[in-house]
Symmetry: C2
Subunit: 394 residues, 2 copies
Amino acid sequence: MADPRVLRAMSTPLLGQFDPEFTAIMGEVVELSRFAFQTANARAFPVPGTGRAGLEAAIVSLVEPGDRVVVAECGRFGLLTIEIAERCGAEVVPVRGEWGRIIEPDAIASALEGGRTKILAVVHGETSTGVLQPLEEIARLAHAHGALLVADCVVTLGGCAVAVDRWAVDVATAGTQKCLSCPSGLAPVTFNARAERVIRERRSKVRSNYLDLGQLADYWSPARFNHHTAPTSMVYGLREALRAVREEGLEARFARHRLHGDALRAGIDALGLSLFGKEPPERRLPFITPVVVPEGVDDLRVRRRLIEDFAIEIGAAFGPLQGKIWRIGTMGYSAQRQNILLCLTALESVLRGEGFRAAAGAGVDAALAHYAAAGAAGPLAVDDNLGAGGIGRL
Amino acid sequence: MADPRVLRAMSTPLLGQFDPEFTAIMGEVVELSRFAFQTANARAFPVPGTGRAGLEAAIVSLVEPGDRVVVAECGRFGLLTIEIAERCGAEVVPVRGEWGRIIEPDAIASALEGGRTKILAVVHGETSTGVLQPLEEIARLAHAHGALLVADCVVTLGGCAVAVDRWAVDVATAGTQKCLSCPSGLAPVTFNARAERVIRERRSKVRSNYLDLGQLADYWSPARFNHHTAPTSMVYGLREALRAVREEGLEARFARHRLHGDALRAGIDALGLSLFGKEPPERRLPFITPVVVPEGVDDLRVRRRLIEDFAIEIGAAFGPLQGKIWRIGTMGYSAQRQNILLCLTALESVLRGEGFRAAAGAGVDAALAHYAAAGAAGPLAVDDNLGAGGIGRL
C-alpha cells in the first residue's frame, strides 16, 4: 500500500521544473534522501525511473566497455544485476550462491583477487529469497581491492538500516514502492566523491543519455543542467514519503518493521507453516517473510483466493523457487497490526480450503501474544505505528 | 497544467501489477494509446520514463553498434536525438537545418543516398522553434531507401494529427506532459511489425535492460513478461488523460488547440509583437507560439514577472535562440479561452513595465474578435472546450 498522504501529495497541481517553488522542493528531496540513506554525500537524488533504472544508471555511468565487474548473486535481483552489467559492456564475474543464503565474504574476496575490478555489485536485500546481505565487511573487501561497492538497496531503504557512510558504500540505489510506501516510478540514489570522480573521469561517453548519472547530478544540483522534464507528481510523492520517514525517525521505523514482521512470523509458525531459508534473523529481511508452500497445497489457488476474497496480495516466487514459496511483504505503510492479523486469519481460512488444517485462531493468537510481549498491545490508535504524520486508517 | 481529473486519478490506491484489475487497466491504456496514435499496431504502450526515455528506448532497441542513423536536426530536440543515437553506438549522419525552418525532404533524401541506412530519425514537433515537420513524404523517403522512420512526437501527440498508420511511421515516441496534460513520467510509444522484426532479429543484445522495447512489449502484452514494477499512479494518470482525449475526440481536440493558438497569435500581433520563424501556418505547431523578444526588453525579467506576479510560465529559448524568443505553450488542458486572455493581459502589463507600449487592451480585443469570428464567443461553460469529461475551472 502507498501511504495515503503520499497519494494526496501526488494530486497537487504541477509547478514548472525551473519554478523556484519546485527547485525548493527538489532541494528538500535531496536533503531528505541524505537522511534516509544516512549519508552526507553531496549527491542524493532520484533517477527518473523505477528501481532497476537506478541500478542501471549506476552501472552504465561507472562502467566503460571491458571493465571487470564482480556481481554477487543469490537470487533474482542478483541475476538482474548480472544482466544489466553485461548489457553495459562489462566483463562480468558472477559469484553465485545458494538461493536463501547470503553470499559469503570469502567467495567475494576470491573473485576480487582474480583481476583488477572496477565495481563490486551486491544486492542488499534480496527480495526473491528474503535474505539481507551484510554490507560493511563487503565494502572493506571492495576497497582493499581498489573496487567501488554498488549496493542495490531497493527493498531496504526506509525499512532497515542503509548506513551508506558508516559502511562506506560508494553507490547505493533504491526504489520508492517498497519500504517508502510511495508508488513505483523513481529510484533514489546516492554516491560518494570517489564514485563521482570515476564518473567524471571516464574516457568514453556514458552509453545512455537518459541514465547518465553525471548529467542527472547536475540537474539535481544548483547548476540545474537541463536534462529530462521532471516527473513532478512523482517528486511530490517521494518528498511526502521521505517526510514521513523523517517524522517517524529511522530507529522507530526500523523497529516497527521488525515488530510487525516478527508478529507475522510468530503467527505463521503457530499455523504450522515453515519459513524458507537457513540464515539467522540478522541476515533476513525483517519485512519479507518467505513461507514454504505446504505439500499438497496449490500455490496459485491460494494466492488467487487471497487477492480475490480478501484483497491481500502476497508475492509469488521466481526461478527455482517458483511454486515452492510465498513471500509476504509487510513494508512501509502496510506494516500495521491490523494487516498482520487480517493476513493470518485470511491465510488460515484459505489454507483450510486446501485441506491444510491448523488449530482455529492459532495464528492470530500467536501474533497477539507477540504484540503483548513486546508491549505493543492495546487498542489501535488512529496513527498507530505511523509516526506524527501518519494516518492509520482512512 | 495537468488536467485535474488526471491528478485525481493519480491519487487512487495502488493495485498490484499482476492484479487482474490492473492488467485490465493496462489493456485499456494500450487500446487508448492506439486511438491517440491513430494506429492498429499491436504495440502501443508507455515506456516507464519521461519523453526522452521513449526516444532512447526506440533507438537503443533498433540500433546495433555501427548502424547508420540519419537524424534531421533543426532545433534542440534534433540535437538530443543525435546525442542519444551516438551514445547508442550508431554511426550518425546529421542533416542540419536552420532553426525555425523544417528540414526539406531533398536534404534528407541526399543523406539517405549516402549509404545503407538503418534508421531515419525526425522530430515531428520541434518544441524549441515551433516548427511542425510534415512526416508523410519523409516516411516514403525512408522506406524507398530501406530505412525505418522513427518520429519523436513528444509535443504533438494529442494536440495535432499523429497519423502513424496513414503516414506509415514505423516508430513513434511521445510524452505525457505536453498535449496530454498528464504529469511527466511516461513515454507512450508505438511501433509496427516491420520495426518489431528488426528488434526481434537483432544479432546483439540491446545495450539497456530498462529501455529494451522487446521486453517492455512483452510486459505490456498478455505474456506479462516480468520486467520493471509498473509505475502504477502514472499509469492511472495516463489512462485518465487518454480517456479525456477519446471523449473529446481527436478532430475536436485538434480544432480546440488550433482555435486557442490562433486567438493567442491574433492578440500577439495586435500587441505589436512578432512571431519567430518563417514557415507557413501548416508547418508550425498550433499550440506553441514563438515570439521574438522585442529590442530593449529583458527576456529573463519578463519571464520572472509573468511567473511571480501572474503565475504564468512561458518557455525560455535554447542555444542560438536564447534570450531572443519566448515560447508560449497552449497545450492540452491549458488551451482554454480564459488562459489566452489572461496571458495577453499579463504580457501587455509586463511589457509596459519594460517600456514596450501597445494600445491598451489591444491583445485581448484581437483575441476576442478571433473567437467571435470563429463562432467561439459567449459565456464560458463549466466544461468549456474540454469535452464530456472535462472540468473548465475548479
